[in-house]
Symmetry: C3
Subunit: 164 residues, 3 copies
């Protein structure tokens, strides 16, 4: 199964919000829907809610759970406000201020802060699925969190049936 590509990626500089409406390429890793993503800044929060909702709609699941998993170690995924793009920009900025600068790190690639931020926001999120819709709060969106961009990245989505 293949989704249509991004089209031309919208320019996105941090701090900014970019919404991916169409989703990227989807791989054939059976139940796992794989999407390609191109981040455009060192720190880049990309709203992937439409992409995840699309994965839900293309699945056969009416009632269940949707998992978003990021297979990278210098990027993560979080749920936060997507109405005002300043919110995700502020989160990225605060993480830059909170995580200590690089001088004392042992990892030689210079991106230890990105690894640390990835562990702080986490590698996965789960959202309930009801009547083929993500059950998110009014202000909630799902963000891919780039901490060591710009890069080509992947997002895995899995939608599974669930019952009481």
């Amino acid at each position: 199964m293949s989704l249509t590509g991004f089209g031309s990626p919208l320019p996105a500089t941090f701090p900014g919000r970019r919404q991916i409406a169409a989703g990227g390429e989807e791989g054939d890793l059976k139940m796992t829907r794989q999407f390609q993503l191109k981040t455009t800044a060192k720190t880049d929060f990309v709203d992937i809610t439409p992409l995840v909702q699309q994965a839900v709609e293309r699945s056969k699941v009416e009632e269940g759970l949707c998992y978003v998993f990021v297979p990278h170690t210098t990027a993560g995924v979080t749920i936060n406000e997507n109405a005002d793009p300043h919110v995700s920009a502020d989160i990225g900025m605060a993480l830059n201020l909170m995580v200590p600068a690089q001088e004392r790190y042992q990892h030689m690639e210079g991106n230890s802060p990105a690894h640390i931020k990835a562990s702080l926001v986490g590698s996965s999120q789960v959202v309930f699925v009801q009547a083929k819709r993500l059950v998110l709060g009014t202000w909630q969106g799902i963000f891919f969190c780039e901490f060591d961009g710009p890069r080509n990245r992947q997002v895995y989505v899995r939608v599974v049936k669930a019952e009481e």
Copy 2:
């Protein structure tokens, strides 16, 4: 289905622990059990373990998984010690110290630190269910984490069957 209300909410000032024994109102969003919650301070950690356990007992699930999801962007959910109420108070205080003060944020509502804390603790937790009980460690409890209270809040709980 409706649960009996909170009764009179216990006064809870931060740093303090409040345990909700009876649970709030439950909505009818099918599999998703919705609970109302009233937080009483800017930063307020509310022990919702009894409420979540109650949701498990009222479900038909013997063996499975229990998900707790917070549909807000300035609140979250964490698992930590609920024996000594000072622990959750210390977590709230440490987050206040860690997340930078507000002056440089772009989001104009003045609550960017609350959004950041929400992403640090996360929007959901999962706990195993066995013989209709949450499988928690001796000292573990589930806390609703208010970072921008006092407010009326919601918690979603889903209990699902699972098998190997």
Copy 3:
């Protein structure tokens, strides 16, 4: 069911990586596979990927989800790079720098920073299972995060069937 023990635990001082190949003792808590773990430093990140993969292989699940849950309140679990052991060491060090020192905490056991770090990295992780393998990114491993060691610890693993 019982797994063979660790054998002699490899010496691990922080910052260091230790990989547990054989897994610890496994309890009989039905679907929940329990492993014993001995941490050897105050802050100790232990790569439990082989142990978790082993739990997947010993289950009957071909396609599904694998949950790792830590039943402690001063330890957690994270997914990050396990190729270079310096990465997890850097994460431990950064958390030590980020979480404020102890003087202002109310919890009298002196380990409030460990509780806070546990809530920052989280109590659980989920990984997709496909063809009896954990679906992890090239550089990803699963780490038990000790923040108040050395101690004897437990890890719970649950592998569940899932379908669209």
